[in-house]
Structures are given as C-alpha cells and as structure tokens.
C-alpha cells in the first residue's frame, strides 16, 4: 500500500480511518517504461550518411516527428511513447510528480505531515462525529486535532471527512498516531473507534567535532555524517559561537571559473551528503573576542558554541537540528617562545653558517638562565646539520615580556635537502625542557665557480638555492 500505515480497524464500524503520509512529492523519471528512439537509428545503419550518393533528406524525413502516418490518417496516438522528439528527452524527466510511494523513514528534525480521511463505508449515515488525532510518545501526548467543540454533524454513507495534520518531530524513538472517532451510527448507538498507527523516529545525522590549536589559532573541525536513506542537501550549516568567540568558516573554492560564464552561476555544486554514511567536513577558525595579550588562557571547559543545521530533501522538504554545546580546549600560551628569524640564502656544504634566533619570555616573571642545544630527537636518523663549536650555548636570564636575539653556529655535512631540527631550550633554574623548534628544511649545495675564458668572456654558473621552512605539524 502506498504511504499507508497499518492500523487496526474493527469491521463492525461504519467509519474507518485511512492515513497517508504526505511528505513532498518527487519527480518521476520515466525511463523504465519508455525507451524513446529516433526511427532512423532503428531502421538504418549507423553510418548511413557516410555514403554521399544517398539522399539524406529522404532518410531524415523518417526522424521528423511531425510527419503524419500514411496508414493511420495522422493518428498520433502513442507516438510519444516510441519516437523521440529531441535527443535531450532521453533524460526522461517531463516534470511529472509522483506521490510518496511508501511511508518511508521519519527522522528527528523533520515535519511529520499526514492526510487523514474518515470514510463511511456503511449504508448508514454517521452523525455527531467527534474526531481526535494525537501523537503519543514515551514522554508526552500532543494533540493535533479535536472536533469536540464543533462535532462533524454528519458523514453520509459513502462519504468522507478529511483533514491534514502536521507535527514537528522533536523526539526519538517510537511514536503512535492515535486517531479516534466518537459517533452515532445508523442505530443511533454511540460508537467509539480508535485506530493506531505506529512509526519510529531515528536520528538523521551525527556531528563529530574536533578542536585543535595550531600556532596561535584555534580550529574547529566538524564532520557531519548522514544516517538517513536519502541524500541530504545541506541548505544551511551555521556555527553560532558563544559570546566570547568569533568564528569564521574556512572553505576552498574547488569550483573554479567555468569556461562558459553563462552557466557558471547555475552549476555551483551543492553540498550533498550521501545516504547511509556519507560525510562532509566544515572548518572554522575560532578567535577570542577578548584581545588582551596573554589573557586568552581560558579554563578547560570553555563553551565554543553550537551548530544550527538545516537540510533539505526532495522538493525542499526541510529538516532542522541543533547540536549540543561544543566545548573547546583552551589556546595554550607557551612560557618561552623560540623563533628562527633568519637563515643565510646560500648554504655551502661543510662551511659553517649562522642562523639567527629569538627567544621571548611570554610570562610575567623573569626566567632563565637557558641552555640552547640540538637534541638528538626520537629517530635514529643520521643528522646532517650540527652545531659547529660549543655544543651548548648559554643564554642569560630573560625578564618578563622581553626578547633576546642570538646566533647559532651550524655546519652541514650532507648535500641536498636537509632538516635543521631539534633546537631545544632548557631552563636551567626551573629544570624545564621546552619543545624543540619545529624542523626547518634547507638545501645545501656546492657552489660552482668557473671561469671560462673564451673570447674574453667569463661565464659564471651560479646555482641559487631556495630554502623553505618546514611546516609545523598540522595533524
């Protein structure tokens, strides 16, 4: 039965409830039935027009859908079930709508809408009909319709009383649509007809969030997973931050400029999450609205905000959900900030070079003295960059909010792209070892200099290197 719910209906009643879920209709693609073709493609060889001696007009006349049938007196009857008019018609989408063919699934956040028809299939009139419809869940009963104040005077034999109910689904689990009719039957007996239609409400989405801090920024990553049996069009996904934060969505524009600018606006790919487990990720950068330097430390249970999600299905059928509050880990402010300021543009193998570094005390008290060295790190990889000279550099104490710039003398022992890694700071007084500076990649070269004296010209071949900083680990 299409869209019908199973409900018990005692047979000694004049009246009966017929119920059909009324979610929005869908477009029907009629390709299962029709296989529209061009008669020329059916009756002639595909390379028919290769032969220049054959008159193309004769042949193409067969394709012409307006040609009347010689035999059938211009009887066009079911021509449109056979002959294609326009090749695009193979899409089989005429715009015909079809009513929902099954009850389907119901999800939290949707609107349950239903056509309810009270039919009188007896030979007698039913009078003074009081009709009630309500939804019962584990937690509550919601009245949708009640004609007690103005009962339906009469439903004649073979007649009907129809109504449409709507209910925003806000609870999970089993629901029962209870329809009752209280009426006087043909014998003037007051009869009571209850009918029950059960359905279950499931969760359509899950939202998993991760909060990460990278350098000075806090990022919120949200992964939406679709548990329904339909593709969900994400109409609106909005993160509403709580008062002390602002949030900016980061998105790539994968949709590059179309060659044909006329169609560009029409074909921006929609965010469509596939049925049964498809996912889509959203990324936001969270910034504190409180701008004080060093004051952004927040306690561990800070509330970042929540998501408002609106999705749509066929013909715009909407669903809306809100997530719970999302908590974030605070932005950790390091006590000591170590930064690499400068590296020489050309670094030659086995020749010492200097890197400039700065150390900043981000606390409100004096720290230090410090030792700077390169630590071996976890891996046993051979290191091709070493401190040249004294292995431990000692730095004097640093007052609150102050910086110091110093040089580290290094030497490279291997050619090519290598890492300067493991530069570590150790606070001697507090016995505190800080995280090493993130790896920096550089290229070490030979420097070629040749003088080629040929026709009194000198050629200098110089290979210029580029160097780049290794990225901080974003994972």
């Amino acid at each position: 039965m299409s869209g019908q719910l199973q409900g018990g209906s005692p047979s000694n009643h004049s009246l009966a409830f017929r119920v059909m879920r009324l979610c929005r209709p869908s477009f029907q693609a009629e390709e299962a039935v029709l296989r529209l073709l061009d008669p020329l493609d059916l009756l002639a060889a595909e390379d028919i027009l290769v032969d220049p001696s054959l008159p193309p007009d004769d042949l193409l006349r067969i394709s012409d859908p307006s040609t009347p049938d010689a035999v059938a007196n211009s009887d066009f009857t079911f021509r449109d079930r056979f002959q294609i008019r326009n090749p695009v018609d193979a899409m089989a989408l005429s715009g015909l709508l079809i009513v929902p063919q099954s009850f389907g699934n119901i999800y939290l956040g949707e609107t349950f809408s239903s056509y309810i028809s009270v039919n009188n299939s007896s030979k007698f009139e039913a009078r003074d009909v009081i009709i009630k419809a309500e939804i019962q869940t584990e937690r509550q009963r919601i009245l949708l319709l009640d004609t007690s104040k103005s009962p339906v005077e009469s439903i004649r034999s073979g007649g009907r009383y129809d109504f449409i109910v709507e209910h925003d689904v806000k609870e999970l689990g089993p629901h029962t649509l209870v329809c009752t009719a209280l009426y006087n039957d043909g014998d003037s007996e007051r009869k009571y007809l209850p009918q029950f239609f059960k359905f279950i409400v499931n969760n359509p989405l899950s939202v998993r969030t991760k909060v990460r801090t990278v350098k000075d920024n806090t990022y919120l990553e949200a992964c939406i997973e679709n548990h329904t049996k339909s593709n969900l069009y994400m109409d609106q996904v909005e993160f509403e931050p709580s008062q002390q934060w602002t949030a900016t969505r980061l998105e790539t524009s994968e949709y590059s400029a179309e060659a044909n600018s006329e169609t560009r606006g029409l074909l921006k790919p929609p965010v469509l999450i596939r049925a049964g487990g498809g996912i889509y990720n959203y990324l936001y950068v969270i910034k504190s609205t409180i701008e004080e330097f060093g004051q952004s430390k927040v306690d561990g249970s800070s509330i970042l905000g929540k998501f408002q999600i609106t999705w749509r299905m066929n013909l715009g059928e909407p669903g809306r959900l809100q997530t719970q509050q999302i908590y974030g880990t605070p932005i950790t402010q390091k006590d000591i900030e170590l930064q690499m300021l400068d590296i020489p543009p050309i670094i030659i193998l086995e020749r010492p070079f200097q890197v400039h570094l700065s150390i900043t005390n981000q606390t409100d008290r004096t720290l230090g003295p410090f030792e700077v060295f390169t630590s071996p790190g976890i891996s046993n990889d051979e290191k091709f960059v070493m401190v040249n000279g004294i292995q431990k550099l000692v730095l004097p104490p640093l007052e609150a909010s102050n910086s110091n710039i110093f040089d580290l003398n290094l030497i490279a022992t291997g050619l090519g792209v290598q890492k300067i890694s493991g530069i570590t700071i150790f606070d001697v007084r507090e016995k505190k070892l800080y995280d090493p500076l993130p790896d920096v990649e550089v290229i070490f070269l030979f420097f070629f200099f040749f003088v080629h004296s040929f026709l009194n010209r000198r050629y200098i071949l110089l290979i210029v290197c580029t160097f780049f900083h290794g990225n901080a680990d974003l994972c």
Partner: protein, 363 residues
Amino acid sequence: MTGEEPDAGGDPPSVAIADPLLSPPTSPLDLPFDVPSLLALSRRGQWRAVLDAVAVARRSHGLLPHHHLVCLAVSALALSKLRRFSDAAAEIDALDAPLDSPRFRFESYPSSYPGRSGSMVPFALRFLHADLPQRLGTRSVTVDRLYALFDLVRSKILEETTTASADLWRRREVFVIASLCCNHFVHREFEAALALVRLLLERDPSDPLLLSRLGYVQLQIGDLTGAKASFARLENLHPSGERTVELENLVGRNKALEFIVVKDYAAAVREYEECIERDPADVVALNNKALCLMYSRDLSDSIKVLEGALERVPTAALNETLVVNLCSMYELAYVNHGDVKKTLSNWIAQVAPDDFDPSCTRI
C-alpha cells in the same frame, strides 16, 4: 580475407547476382518489411504486431546482412517494450560477435554493397544492448556500456567528414549523455547527474528543456536557490512575447513547481489551470494539478481531475505515473478500493498500448 563472404545472419547468401531481387538496394531503407506500416504500428504501441511483422520479414528470401541487423534491432526493441527483457538479450547475444566486428561492416561484403563502407549496425541496437543488462539486474554493466558508447560517439564525431553525418553523431552524443544522466538520477547519484547536465549545457546553454530539467534535478536534491536560478535563466533567455504555446506551458509549469516548494498549492493550481486552458492535453499540468489538490485536502477533486483527464484525452493521459497517482488516491479515499481499481484496470486493458505496464495499478 578469403573469397568467401562472412555471413551476419546465419543464412547462406544467394549466389546469382543476375537475380534482380538480389541487386544491392538503391535505398538504404529498402527493407524486407513495409517501413511506413511498421512505423505506424510502433506509433500505436502495437508491439506484438511489430514482432509478427519482423518474424515474417526474417523468413523472406534474399536477405542481406544489414537486413538481419535491422530486424534484430526492431525485434529487440519490441521485446523490450513487451518487458520480455531476457528474450531481447538472448537475441542480441545470438549474434555471436561484438557489434564492432568486421562482420557488421559494409566493406566486408563488396559484392552485396559495391563501393560502400562503414558500420551497418543500427545505432538503436547499440543502445538496446547497453540498456538491457539493468533490466535483468546488472546495472553496472549497463553503466559501463553506456559510457563506452559515449566514447564511441565522441570518436565518430571527430572522424566524420560530412556535416550531415557529424550532426547526426552529435545528436546521438546528446542522446547518450541524456540517457546516462537519467540513469544516475534514477539511482539518486545526483552529483553525476549534475555533471552530465553541465556537459549538455556547454553544448547548448540556452535550451529551455535542458534548463528546466536542470531545475528539476536541483529541486529533487533540495537545492531551491539553484532551481530558482535555472528557471529564471530560462525565462530571461526566452522572454514572454516570443514563446510558443509549448514553451509558455513549460514556463507556467516551472512557476507552479516553485509554488509547490513553498506549499502555496492554490497558486500552483492556478498556474496549471492556465496551462490546461492553453493545451487541454498537457498531461504534466493535469497530473501535477491533481497532486496539488490532494495536498490541499481536496482528495475528491484530485481524483476527478485525473479521471477526467483519462476520459477526455485518453491517449495523452494514459501514463503509468498518472495511473500510480490515481491508484494511490483511490487507496486513500476508499476503504474498498479494490473494486474501483479493478474498474480502472479493465478500462486500461482495452485502451492501452502493448507496452503499458499493468503493474502500476498495484492490484
């Protein structure tokens, strides 16, 4: 190649060239059946009669290789229309060689087709060969074959030397892309469907049918802004003074859809009524108007609209989707809906073409 000519159909070719019946056809449509009557039968949906005509043709003497292929194409189509899909597939499989085999080229039979070259395979046969696996439960084979057909058509467009033949292959390209788009749509693979619509729009950015269908795909997804833009573009490209009745109705029906989206069913009904006044056989308007009435709680009138359509314009209105909708309404309206559906079913049996799918009444 030996002096012996390979045979496409299974019958040994006759030898005597002097026999006038065997001289090469002067027209490529010189077929072993009467073409106009076969087309008339097809347009009336009399597919059993088509099958009979093909069977008779196949028994005639002096059939040339390309006759066998055309008979095969028509037979496979008729069997598909009668929903005898395994029979259709079996007939094509009996060919025992792929459609690209030299056996199916004119130059392989120089005495039968002097001076002619090229493939004698009817393009519809390729399409049916691709379409059938999904009717038999292996959709992936259909998709693969359709994409392979897409490749073939694209390479033919590049090869063709005359404008007429290149145009013909371009029409076939649009046909194949549109078929693929439909396939993806039916299986809810909307991103693929949209990508193919984009391809079609590149070739013809102002085609009103295409823009409408883009809108329908977007509406099915739920992308209301996208659909609105597509419909607006159509209206801008084809302004109101210059439209045919057909185009005017297309625009009207699209407007009605936008009303349906916001649940303004009364406004949608008004749009559809204007369409029906311009064209009383506009079945899409009739069908959709009935749905709007139902969604407005007016089940009785929705049934009247559909029953009225079947009565007034039966050959246009006899459409499986319309019948499914009517039967759904019957099930809602009548406790004992079996009787009224049976009456409908009997009427359909008398009036409907052979390829009408009777399961749509769900009896």
